[in-house]
Amino acid sequence: MNLAKRRVAKLKLSLIILFFILIIWSASKQTGVSLVELFSNLSNMGALLVQMFPPDWSYFNYVTSAMLETIRMAVLGTTFGGIAAIPFALFASRNIVKTGWIAVPFRFVMNLIRTIPELLLAALFVPIFGIGFVSGIFALAVFSFGVIAKLAYESIEAIDNGPLEAMTAVGANKVQWIFLGVIPQVVAPYMSYFLYCFEINVRAATILGYVGAGGIGLYLSRTLGFLQYDRVMSIILYTFVVVLIIDGLSNRIREKLI
């Protein structure tokens, strides 16, 4: 009896392992991944790296305005998206809006928007708003909205109900109830999500230029196209430093908030 059980368990495990091997094998077959090719072409990778060094130092100066535009896009996109997220987050929270079905459409819109990656959003907005940073800002705004609204409504639903009850008891109307009972409890987590989203947006904004949505990505795609690998390296280093500084600052502030 016990032996039979153990045998079944063993069989199950080997089947699961076999299944995973099959998935990985078929996926690599379909996409044409080959370890042999990876190793036989290592020398090409080396050649590319050689071309990247030394980076074109003078190019830093040239792309600084594009880098600043990238950061501005992230700032504006996060701000617009973050502000638009506030009413949605409130309406999607079941402890704020007691009528159950009202939250459903708000959650549906939020979930729908979160399924679209920011690069796709940018590609959609470029034909609408034209090539340039405006499309990028809209793409980042919509993306930020999705992220912040979701995280904010989850933290609203987790707030302490006590102060809300106290606000009801003192005779506060619904607006006062939200501003004096709910908002003070969620300001800190909201700001933290806002900064977190800003970090993501700075990184995302660096590649939005690929689809024509402004920022430093345009220069990245251009220099790659012209095989100017020393300049590519400059852009990569520049982006690396900027992202590192912004992440560091934002993390420092977020620690203080909580």
Binding site: D160, G162, P163, E165, A166, M167, T168, A169, V170, G171, A172, N173, V175, Q176, F179, L180, G181, P184, Q185, V187, A188
Partner: protein, 259 residues
């Protein structure tokens, strides 16, 4: 005497069919310090919270100073709640806000929505809030964050909030259940002073028979949603409490001394 709170044949049936309150008839007069005693689950909280309609009743009517709160709607209900302060077991302060802001939140019913959400409290309101804090002896904590205070201090802040409300009735739902014996006495002393000096009608739910005897001017005993005792404190003898708590004399002594 002026009737402040009246229960007229009040019943509460929960959706699952359990009866929280059964045909309760009470009238509480101005300036009384009423303590409601009873076992957990007997309906003390339901009774107290139905006074300002944090709980809805399913039958009967509750009348506050001649006006039915049961029938009140919209603004009228908010106005009636404004005049009733409430103290909770878990203090229910906004922990991240300052003590002063918490006390001022009691003033929301007196000003426009815009003014209150922007925090533009008029000077007399701030003065009133500070004097309310002074009355409960924690004025120096006005600008501390609420979560920096001890439990006893937080409960005094919530008393100050009720005072800032200029409430004529204070309801306290197990106000000392999460406090130690020393702060328990301080908080109940505060409530008693407020009751005696300002004439605020006070209704308190308490677990402890000893405390009920010490502070109440009148005791109401609740058992299984029914009022089984209602009278001045000197009429409430040990036998009365046995009846409320459904037990023999020996056990009663043990629990009464154990707060």
């Amino acid at each position: 005497m002026e009737k402040v709170i009246e229960f007229k044949n009040v019943s509460k049936t929960y959706p699952d069919g359990t009866q929280g309150l059964k045909h309760v008839n009470l009238s509480i007069e101005k300036g009384e310090f009423v303590v409601i005693v009873g076992l957990s689950g007997a309906g003390k909280s339901t009774l107290l919270r139905s006074i300002n309609r944090l709980n809805e009743i399913t039958e009967g009517e509750i009348v506050i100073k001649g006006n039915s709160i049961t029938k009140a709607k919209g603004k009228q209900l908010l106005r009636m709640r404004r005049d009733i302060g409430m103290i909770f077991q878990n203090f229910n302060l906004v922990k991240r806000s300052s003590v002063l802001k918490n006390v001022l939140s009691g003033r929301v019913g007196y000003h426009s929505t815009l003014r209150t959400i922007l925090g533009l409290w008029p000077k007399p309101d701030v003065a009133l809030a500070l004097s309310a804090l002074d009355r409960v002896n924690i004025k120096e904590k006005a600008y501390s964050r609420a979560d920096e205070l001890s439990g006893g201090q937080q409960q005094r802040v919530s008393i100050a909030r009720a005072l800032a409300q200029e409430a004529t009735i204070i309801l306290a739902d197990e106000p000392v259940a999460s406090l130690d014996p020393v702060t328990t006495v301080q908080v109940l002393d505060d409530l008693q002073h407020v009751n005696q000096e300002l004439g605020i009608t006070t209704v308190v739910n308490l677990h402890s028979v000893d405390l009920a005897k010490k502070y109440a001017t009148r005791i109401i005993g609740i058992r299984a949603g029914e009022v089984v005792f209602d009278g001045p404190v000197d009429e409430a003898v040990d036998k009365t409490f046995d009846q409320i708590y459904q037990r023999s004399g020996k056990e009663q002594g043990a629990e009464a001394s154990g707060l």
